[in-house]
Symmetry: D2
Subunit: 346 residues, 4 copies
């Protein structure tokens, strides 16, 4: 790839998700060059820059936005900063890959969408599962072979064995203890935090395969720290389905979706992302189930490569800012439906 | 087993389910003796009696009820006759094993329950999955190891490959063409028929593992002959869950339930009953999943043996008439919830 | 099907395998008509004739062979009679479907093959797994997609949970206690009996997918009643593989084969035959695994239909008498290889 | 852990396996401190030291051996240097964790074992699968629940989809092009190289679960670059089994073993190591299969922690040098058995 065709990226926010997901992906991704990192913690940002050989390290993001050599930024700061940092970057003329959720309210998400449309810059939301090779296979299968989708069932269950898996899979993380404490406080409203964090994944998967959601009815249950949402959905196209979000269940985590159509059906089992395995897909049509054996399993690497391609080639990013708005709307509608007990239209 | 301890049974209705399920089970079951068969079709009843060596064959059920040597009857007539035949049998002093659904309306089911309670006779409902060795394992696991159930997901999907499986597994069935035509007409209201026939199984499974259901919200979809119900349920104990009933999906049939509790979880995959395999169970607790390897898989045989034991030993049948009433209530509430779109309390 | 195109069959030997496998299959198979049954036990033969509505019952097989209305016979007598009954039937001008193994010695099997070739009649060996829809799929896949087979692993393990499965799946069997005792004595040389009974299945599967076997090396182990053979094979085409035969292992039975070729691989898991499920096949080529969802699972029914077609249409039966000879040769070579410890060529 | 109780390690050889496996493991392992790295390539050794923050980098291993602050070394140099570097390290008084295979000939391996016994130092062989949580579970199950092992089947199949998986899972590797070319030349005798590299894993697994091997018979097949070994083994305890080693098969890699004993059986499916998942175990006994849900899946991290414990606590390393000798013997016997065609005793 010629030097000109490489997208020069800066990473804003070097906490856990940056070190665990984005930095290893950036180091290997084609078509990108990580030229700057930024984090409020001086210790963290320098440790990261040293480890990944990044030439420029900052504690003030304004410096990054002023740097004309930076084409685009990845926003991996805490959720409540997503919108403001993304807006600042766009205003400075930078393309943006922003971690999900796009914003914490529908209004803020919509404002950001307006800004994207005004600037004409690329904004991609970090719902990286759209770049999971298995989910992409399933999406094509739904479009081309399944017949019209009629019903579906999706689940997203965090298992209480997850900490052991993370301890095994995660690299050593350089953390700023003060920052960690501050963030824990912001996650204290677990019901809201968990729905936004996990719901944005599984709702985006539903939309990726089935299109827009028209309405939800929700039942919720709280057991100490544990939360369960059972959601009954109708899509704009008329498919009826359910989504279960549970944090935690005993045992291993489990995530997936089954879609049934006029001619076929597809089941997607999505693995814990840091196994770096594409989702396992079982696609049934015409008397046989096909299981693609997929090996390109780092969704974060594929995500940033797709982002760079969208910038270079001018195509639409996936998911785009409007998808990000819809994901926030769905989270919001789910929370409202828990409070009211009745169906909420989107 | 001594002669006295054997329950003398008559079979009322010798159509498909009788020939496919009950007669092979009765031939092998311990503690029962099939002494009479009855069917309106003379051809059918004699073919069946000859094949299974049954000493007495009738076309008029009144003769059976008058026979003092008959201890109990199995009612395997079409759904709309369940209640009346069962009532007639009870009135004649016979214990009854009646195919599900118990009745076609809640009122009729309740009337039958009243009659059972008045007579003190045993009435067991033919929801034979309660006698599936795997579901029984799961029920014990839920009670003893799972901790309080919090959430669940159940599914009952008839696959369009089912006819081929039935053609392979079913013995040759002696049928009366006229009766077959009559019955097809009664099944013409597919939405109602399918919900009653299939819903009574999966709703009974939910109640078997999780207890009474307090309310349902339902979304329904119809595509030509195909039907889908997506049900959001809250149990009396506060568990939240979903049940999906789909007739047909492309491919193989699929039936099961997953329950998540405070300490463990259990998944039950129920096989097409005529494979005569106990449900496959995965029971998780304390860092390990247990899969019992169960071999006694004919739920119909186990059902009639349990019925005979209940008669001899005086214990409660399972499911009893009140379970049968609840199953009809759930079907009724589901149908109402489809019409109204809002939550229906039971 | 016109009357002329139906093959009129007689069943010689009405013991367990006849009642459990052949009679239910014959009752449903297309293109065949069971016109006579024969068994030395008068009780058994009449019970069977009554149950299956067979017009003619005999205790002397000579009567069957003299009956000009009988086109063909199924030989389901004990192993040691296979050859002589088959020879008698051929001599009387009847086509023959004879249970495996074809004979107890290579010489007798060869003599029978000579007789078949002289008479021009159809003789099919009852290695019914060749009519398993899954194995047939695998065979086509090996021929058309796999590339040349290079290596393989096959296993045939009887599990000690098998009696419970049989008790569930088998219909009530009418047995003659004296005959049962006599036969038990003939099975007393377990090593020989088990190798012939089970080995003939798995060796025929190997030949069905991979062609002739050129040599074997074997290690054998005996633990009380339990037997293990571990066989290292080279095929005539140069593929190298292993076959493990174990009777019993703890747990469920397990049977299957994996074949690896130049372009693809295939795994076949063969279910206990009385589940009446086609083998589960995983066929890998070009980045995807295909799992055909097969529903026509009664290999005994498919076997007798194929036999009738071979008679009517004049094609080669499968397996034919030469396949039967090869199966006996393989069993014989395996037994010799156990004794000598060195490679035995076929 | 107190400073004194931490083992100070040096890593000799910083090529692919070091960067992919050892360095990430060392960064996270408890009880160890990586104080020096050494590699003939100055570029590579400095890149590695920078990335992992190692205080001391060398191109001459003699410097490492002279450093009194180094307690122990990990030898991750190419196979043909294992023995000489290990011997040099032991002579310098360092404990050694040496990548498998221990040596390229039985004599050299034995000489090294003699040296270990003379020095009293700890030498552990890098057959890291002994530290796979799943295999460790299986070993305990075999010892405590299975009853005496009677038969087994093991397989080790490299799939042609492996390069894609490696590209996804491996971090960016700093390589010296000249070194890579040199090493490729040493791997040119693929038959020998592949048997040593892969065989040492699966043979060690057999010994880990079943004890010493008494004899082997082998059939080998070569197809261009592809190699297959089918091995028939008898263990010292009398178990009979097979091991299939195939490089490449079409599709995904696959590795595992099944062991059948008097009372139970166990199946181990070992995942590609860089998924960092413990082997999946199915352990059957007494009517139920247990599947432990294991989360501590980095066998390289567990290996070096066990090595450090063996040094600190004085226990035997696992595998020890004698296990390493036996692994080389088995590889050697397998190669001889291919040449001679007859059984080779160990």
């Amino acid at each position: 790839m010629s030097r000109e065709s490489v997208t020069r990226l800066a990473l804003i926010g070097c906490g856990r998700i940056a070190q665990v997901a984005h930095l290893p992906a950036l180091e290997k991704a084609d078509g990108v060059d990580l030229v700057a990192v930024c984090d409020p913690s001086e210790d963290v940002v320098h440790a990261v820059a040293r480890r990944y050989g990044v030439p420029s390290a900052h504690t003030d993001q304004a410096e990054v936005f002023q740097d004309p050599s930076v084409d685009a930024v990845i926003v991996a700061a805490p959720d409540r900063f997503h919108r403001s940092i993304a807006a600042e970057a766009l205003t400075a003329g930078k393309h943006v890959l922003v971690e999900k959720p796009l914003a914490t309210t529908v209004q803020e998400a919509q404002d950001l969408a307006d800004l994207v449309h005004r600037t004409g810059l690329v904004l991609q939301v970090g719902a990286m599962k759209r770049h999971d090779q298995g989910l992409q296979y399933a999406r094509r299968f739904v479009a081309e072979r399944l017949g019209g989708p009629r019903s579906f069932t999706a689940w997203y269950r965090i298992g209480d064995l997850r900490p052991g898996i993370e301890a095994t899979l995660f690299p050593h993380v350089h953390a700023d203890p003060a920052a960690r404490e501050t963030e824990a406080a912001f996650k204290a409203d677990r019901r809201r935090y968990l729905l936004a964090t996990h719901g944005s994944h599984i709702f985006d998967t539903v939309r990726f395969l089935l299109g827009d959601v028209a309405s939800v009815v929700v039942r919720h249950r709280e057991d100490g720290r544990d939360q369960t949402w059972q959601v009954l959905l109708t899509t704009a196209s008329g498919a009826v389905g359910t989504v279960g979000i549970t944090v935690d269940v005993p045992g291993l985590p489990s995530e997936g979706i089954e879609v049934f159509g006029a001619h076929g059906s597809v089941r997607v089992d999505t693995h814990f992302p840091f196994y770096r395995r594409a989702s396992t897909v079982h696609a049934y049509v015409d008397g046989a189930t096909t299981v693609p054996e997929l090996t390109d399993g780092d969704a974060y690497e594929r995500q940033v490569e797709a982002f760079a391609r969208a910038i270079r080639e001018g195509g639409a990013p996936d998911p785009d800012v409007d998808d990000g708005v819809q994901a926030v709307r769905l989270i919001d509608a789910t929370a409202t439906a828990v409070e009211t007990g009745v169906e909420v239209a989107l």
